[in-house]
């Protein structure tokens, strides 16, 4: 059974600092997704990573995928308060059923 773990679970950081969130998964998978969830809100898609070595960037966020290590990273550059949210990675179980298993989530708080 596919397991998806993120670390850290909680992250409090100062504005202007850099940090990386890690997403590890336990079995072979085709695709990995990153989502953002603001408190009390829905989930919004950030990145879709489809192959080994894939790198996507949007603003201060950059996501990468290493399928051999079964690892994805979400790097935050020069954090701002607006990035405060919970970030989830999700992995397609690659069983042909398109069962997306979500990571535990990383609750990010950027302090002004």
């Amino acid at each position: 059974e596919l397991k998806v773990e993120q670390n850290p679970l909680f992250l409090s950081m100062q504005e202007g600092k850099n940090y990386t969130i890690y997403c590890n998964y336990s079995t072979t998978s085709d695709r990995l997704y990153w989502y953002r969830q603001d408190p009390g809100k829905s989930l919004e898609s950030l990145f879709v990573l489809l192959s080994n070595g894939a790198v996507k960037q949007e603003g201060r966020l950059m996501a990468s995928l290493d399928t051999k290590a079964r690892l994805s990273t979400l790097h935050i550059t020069a954090a701002v308060h607006d990035l405060s949210a919970t970030y989830f990675c999700a992995v397609d179980e690659a069983s042909g059923t398109y069962k997306y298993i979500f990571g535990t989530g990383t609750r990010l708080k950027v302090l002004a």
Binding site: Q37, S42, L43, L50, Y100, T104, G105, R107
Partner: protein, 115 residues
């Protein structure tokens, strides 16, 4: 304009009652999902339908019964509600198939509180 819409947004009910949550998507997707998010924010997949056919049925109490009358609608009926059913239930949709590689599009969630 809303892509994936769920109703109701909030649902407060007593133990033992039966309730339904409705979901509709206007994105033309062929696959819809129900996810449960607990108080610790963990998201757990419950069910998925592709073109009205059930394709994912996780280990969920049989008090939960999904129904998809067409590929744009997916409802969730819950019988004999229990305290542990309190959570936020999210509907989501996407296109099935590697040629799409589309992420899930989520509804705004239904916060269910069982007292």
């Amino acid at each position: 304009d809303t892509a994936v819409s769920q109703t109701p947004k909030y649902l407060v009910t007593q133990m033992g009652n039966d309730k339904s949550i409705k979901c509709e998507q206007n994105l033309g997707h062929d696959t819809m999902y129900w996810y449960k998010q607990d108080s610790k924010k963990f998201l757990k997949i419950m069910f998925s339908y592709n073109n009205k056919e059930l394709i994912i049925n996780e280990t969920v109490p049989n008090r939960f019964s999904p129904k998809s009358p067409d590929k744009a609608h997916l409802n969730l009926h819950i019988n004999s509600l229990e305290l542990g059913d309190s959570a936020v239930y999210f509907c989501a949709s996407s296109h099935l198939g590697k040629s799409y590689n589309s992420p899930l599009h989520f509804g705004n969630g239904t916060r269910l509180t069982v007292t």
